[in-house]
């Protein structure tokens, strides 16, 4: 078990509000971690801190094969501008951008070929010349996943990849993430507790601080513990669902 991401004493605050306090988390290579927690519990904030998009206190180490691990990100598609005048191929090619200033940068034929292969892999073959305004939610999400894969990451962060997406496309997307997990460490923020019980190997419950971190088998003792903790704010329904799923498994 080689660690891939080590978070030590991470705190983030927005003005006077503490979004996250004292997070300690180690994620091993090849792990599939699900982060759950209530709205405003700091899930997206944690992802953004890991990506370096927001300032934070504490230490985040990304350990890759050579120095810092390559990291990529699938944002919540609902926050994106879905009317932007750009084609699917152009979006996904962004994963091939050179870092820093790259005057007269053009994508190579190899870049384009690799991108087309990955579009096929995520199930968007033949979509490359479509404008993104003509995509469904599920297709848009797959395109964002393809863009992240194209950048060849060692760690992949996904923020609510199945929010507002129909069930069929959902299972498609989870299947895709499962496949990716063979080579890539995955951190997934989700409300979808079915995903937690089916695919995810470890969960972290986040409500401004780390409430629970471990196996996704929530036994009654842990649920009790969770109810004592701020996590019971998630919505009772969801917490019960995890528990009852688990009970069914035990039977």
């Amino acid at each position: 078990m080689t660690p891939q991401l080590i978070i030590t004493n991470l705190s983030v605050n927005y003005g006077n509000i503490d979004a996250l306090t004292d997070i300690n988390l180690t994620i091993n290579k090849g792990e599939y971690l699900g982060i759950i927690g209530p709205n405003g519990g700091g899930k997206s904030t944690l992802l953004k801190a890991i990506l370096g998009l927001i300032p934070y206190q504490g230490k985040i180490e990304k350990i890759g094969e050579n120095n810092t691990a390559r990291i990529s990100y699938v944002p919540q598609y609902t926050t994106m501008d879905r009317k932007f005048p750009i084609s699917v191929l152009e979006v996904v090619l962004c994963g091939k951008l050179k870092s820093g200033f790259a005057p007269f940068f053009k994508y190579s034929n190899a870049d384009i070929q690799n991108t087309l292969n990955i579009l096929e892999k995520v199930g968007l073959k033949g979509y490359e010349n479509r404008q993104i305004s003509n995509l469904s939610g599920g297709e848009f999400q797959k395109m964002l996943i393809a863009r992240a894969i194209v950048s060849n990451p060692e760690i992949l962060l996904l923020d609510e990849p199945t929010a507002n997406i129909d069930k069929n496309a959902c299972s498609n997307i989870y299947q895709l993430i499962n496949d990716l997990n063979k080579n890539i460490t995955i951190i997934l923020v989700t409300h979808d507790l079915f995903a937690v019980s089916e695919n995810i190997k470890k969960i972290a419950c986040l409500n401004r601080t780390m409430v629970y971190h471990g196996e996704p088998k929530l036994n009654e003792e842990i649920i009790d513990k969770l109810y004592g903790c701020p996590v019971d704010l998630i919505a009772h329904g969801i917490a019960h669902r995890v528990l009852s799923n688990h009970k069914e498994l035990q039977k």
């Binding site: 932007f84 750009i86 084609s87 152009e90 090619l93 790259a102 005057p103 940068f105 404008q131 863009r147």
Partner: protein, 274 residues
């Protein structure tokens, strides 16, 4: 009018100026619409009025004052946008009104006969001088080259700046640089269409183009073509019936947008019914 065009230098300058302006506005307009920076551009434009006033008061070229003020506004608004997030529109409002107020104050303090300010507020394309042509040419070159050379970077930044940052792009620099380009654009446009009408010339051609194509590159090209058509036709019309040129160009542009919008809405309705 064609004969007059050969005879009068000021008409030739007017045409060159509107051609270059159309190129700048086509590029920057499409970008600020996609990045939702239209009001911010308006704020920068109006803040520059303070610089015009200061120029008159202290006796230096007002356009230099406008340049300094609009750059300051760009950095000020940009900084607060990065720090504060939601308060951006408030800050734009403050810069906007402060710039105008300072301009009026400085001009009132200027000794002697008050200078003609309406050419800075509403512009007068027929009073463009060769020095203005040089200024506009320089700004055109800066805008065109900085966008063309980094075209793929800009496109990815405009679509999703967070992902561009993760890919190692200097997005903070791009934020500020874009605002500086807007400030430069504003300064170049002040003489041609005036502070008040800058926003219309930045938005109308780009918004019209957005109705017709959803490809980024085509949108810029179409927006430039629209700009050229609007300003040449507006110039001709204003010359023939002897009305203010800046206002004519803007009214034409906005009318064209409205007509296109109606045609498209009707088209959609008809398609929906079938």
């Amino acid at each position: 009018m064609i004969e007059a065009l050969f005879d009068y230098k000021f008409l030739q300058y007017a045409f060159i100026a509107s051609l270059l302006t159309s190129i700048i506005c086509g590029i920057i307009g499409v970008i600020i619409i996609e990045k939702k920076l239209v009001m911010m551009s308006g704020g920068i434009a109006h803040t520059s009025y303070g610089g015009v006033g200061l120029g008159y008061l202290l006796g230096f070229e007002p356009i230099l004052g406008a340049f300094a003020f609009s750059i300051l506004a760009a950095f000020g608004i940009g900084y607060i946008k990065r720090k504060g997030g939601t308060k951006t529109d408030v800050v734009i409002g403050l810069f906007w009104s402060l710039g105008m107020a300072l301009g009026i104050l400085f001009i009132a303090l200027t000794p002697g006969y008050p200078p003609d300010l309406s050419s800075y507020l509403f512009g007068n394309i027929l009073s463009v001088l060769s020095s203005d042509i040089i200024l506009i040419s320089i700004v055109t070159l800066i805008v065109v080259f900085s966008i063309l050379i980094f075209f793929n970077d800009w496109k990815s930044y405009l679509f999703d700046d967070e992902f561009a940052f993760i890919m190692g792009k200097k997005t903070a620099f791009m934020d500020y640089f874009l605002l500086v380009l807007v400030a430069l654009t504003v300064v170049a446009l002040i003489k041609v269409v005036g502070i008040i009408l800058v926003i219309a010339l930045l938005t109308a051609p780009a918004a019209s183009a957005a109705l017709l194509t959803n490809k980024f590159k085509n949108r810029i090209i179409l927006s430039i073509i629209f700009g050229i058509i609007f300003s040449f036709f507006g110039l001709w019309l204003s010359y023939e019936i002897n009305i203010a040129s800046g206002a004519t160009i803007v009214i034409l542009s906005v009318l064209c947008y409205i007509i296109l919008f109606i045609i498209q809405s009707v088209n959609k309705k008809i398609k929906g019914k079938n």
